[in-house]
Symmetry: C2
Subunit: 384 residues, 2 copies
């Protein structure tokens, strides 16, 4: 069979109807691949888990930055998505995604203005606040726009943003109740530090310790007559811990859809491996040079993989290959025999999915060897 | 003065004639900033250095991925640019940049096809080769296209790609000479490992050790009657070392135009700081939350800065602030007093410029507080 040319493949990739017969062998590398079987397994498993525990699920879109993935998650039962920044939320809202919770306060030049514009188009968007001055600014801007803004109080339960749980949070919630153009939407409490604690029991302890003040704050608000429809939190690492906390109403995990190397090592409920979800994301690379017998150069380095973890990329089918960073553009591959040749194509699991996805413009969705779809990472780079 | 709205600023940013009065205060954050005074100083200094030593200068565009910067470098005397990958080269050629040296061999699906298409449009493009089989493929493809391809032999002088210097390189150069559709353009020898060696004298030793076989290979080729018009190598860290090597014909440094934190620490010719070039690149951030007295959250984390170095971002005007990674979207800032408030805007030098630039779509060019231009990072993400 004649191999397709680059122009032919690009043309056929653009039109869904022409993709039949295109396989992963036809993709230029480095290419970001999604294993659809593993992805769909992960999506269904978390959705079923939340249904079983009566929790809402609002997966974090900072992981994938891809409207088609948001659609799949919502089709599977998610109530909406989380977006890290207002610029990220704008992209998803522009694609018709509803139920967006923007998880960073609207502080900084233009952020309130952009948030108000977003809420004017997507009325069910929720923003978080942890500061009385910022809340007044939000209320004033909503008044000018003639809208009512959904605002949740972010609680400081970890090492991120937020107001102190308890009385300070109550006062801010009461202030929301007293202002005419903001509406109290509930609480956000994200204990990200707990999600990577090694060992299930230690992780449970860390998450309980972090979330208990948030749960107590929800009870305090309700005791004071403030209805608290939402307490949003949780992560992939604690999804099977936080669901047992009475008071938490929704989970906002992100990484479970792809799973990266990091999470595998944090320990599961029944053993040393956290294997609840399957590795669905990989980067396909090509060996571009083999300068010596046991070392080869790959075509992906710092610009092809995230580098924020102490892990390096791992060959997907454990082949006795060791990856080592070789700068911006390349990886160095060590092996013990003649097993690797120039031109070989090797698939790597990524050290950390979220920042890796943010390096690519599209994700190639594969079912086995076949290419089934291409999704645009439309919110790539949207960190404002 | 009324502050401009987001829409107004975006509209005025799009049209050069409307930018008067726009300052860095009008930029949404995180924003990638270029200090034009420092950048122009760096560009002029390296150009003068190469002129003084009679060396050609072909700066590496993997650093900036920006055609406007390539234009500035060529205007200042560069003979062309290096591009790491064929996809990167395509972007620059499409913008009319000439004299491109593609520094990674054309190995992998579509790479030869794309290289041939590029050479058909930009006849002075040079490709590197380190493998006889790949060379035959290049010659065959050039024959079909009816062109002659400029090919340089890449030498293995460090820990990257390349054929062994000496006889193996000679044989490959002779093979190029013997094939009808490829033309021998010279040698590439990049000793990237030498560029970050600490201390000027140790660095000189490392670079001499690495480059000596390349220089000897050039002499061997010429002794055997093969004209070798180019020996390209060198980096920012060794720019003032390699220029003294008899035989090297051109430098291909990249980082000097921006300078990152890493290079400052490798030691200069006359002291512990390598201060030959000025830090020109920064990321402007906003404090989005101050949950406790001495810690604040910034709006840039793993997706706003490169993370491949052991350094963290450094506040540009040393303010006693300590940055700590706080995940994909945020940084944590520690300080000892009340000096930082929510909404503050703080500028950070980046740990490593190249992969940081690759996270952004545009670079805001500032002269003091004023915004003077906006350049598109058109080759961002081009790692194929």
């Amino acid at each position: 069979m004649t191999r397709l040319s680059y122009q032919d493949v690009e043309r056929r990739l653009k039109h869904g109807g022409l993709r039949a017969g295109i396989t992963r062998d036809d993709l230029a590398t480095p290419a970001l691949l999604l294993d659809l079987d593993a992805f769909e397994y992960n999506v269904a498993k978390m959705a079923a888990h939340c249904r079983d525990y009566g929790m809402a699920l609002r997966p974090h879109a900072k992981t994938h930055k891809c409207p088609q993935i948001a659609d799949k998650l919502i089709d599977a039962g998610a109530s909406g998505i989380c977006a890290a920044k207002v610029s990220e939320a704008e992209v998803f809202a522009g694609h018709g995604v509803h139920g967006i919770l923007v998880t960073t306060p609207l502080v900084g030049r233009f952020r309130i203005e952009r948030g108000i514009a977003l809420a004017s188009r997507s009325a069910d968007t929720i923003f978080v606040v942890d500061d009385a001055g910022n809340l007044r600014d939000l209320n004033d801007a909503a008044a000018v726009a003639g809208i009512e803004l959904n605002v949740a109080v972010e609680l400081h339960v970890g090492r991120k943003a937020g107001i102190a749980p308890g009385e300070p949070a109550l006062a801010l919630a009461q202030m929301i109740d007293s202002l005419p153009h903001v509406k109290f939407a509930g609480l956000q409490a994200y204990a990200g530090h707990a999600s990577h604690v090694n060992g299930y029991h230690a992780r449970r302890q860390a998450s309980e310790l972090a979330m208990q003040p948030a749960i107590a704050t929800k009870a305090l608000l309700e005791k004071c007559g403030i209805d608290c429809p939402m307490l949003s939190g949780g992560s992939t690492g604690t999804y099977n811990i936080d669901c047992t906390f009475d008071g938490l109403t929704e989970l906002q995990p992100g990484s479970y859809i792809f799973m990266d190397i990091d999470y595998s090592s944090i320990g599961g409920q029944n053993g040393p491996v956290f294997g609840d979800f399957r590795n669905a994301l990989s980067v396909l690379c090509t060996v571009v040079s083999k300068p010596v017998r046991n070392m080869a150069l790959l075509d992906a380095g710092y610009k092809g993989f995230s580098t924020d973890r102490p892990f390096v990329p791992a060959a997907k089918n454990d082949l006795g290959l060791t990856y080592e960073w070789a700068g911006d553009e390349h990886g160095r591959l060590y092996f013990s025999s003649e097993q690797v040749q120039t031109g070989d194509r090797i698939e790597f699991l990524v050290p950390h999915c979220d920042p890796t996805v943010n390096l690519y413009d599209r994700i190639y969705c594969c079912r086995g060897e076949s290419l089934e779809d291409i999704w645009q990472i439309s919110a790539r780079g949207m960190c404002q």
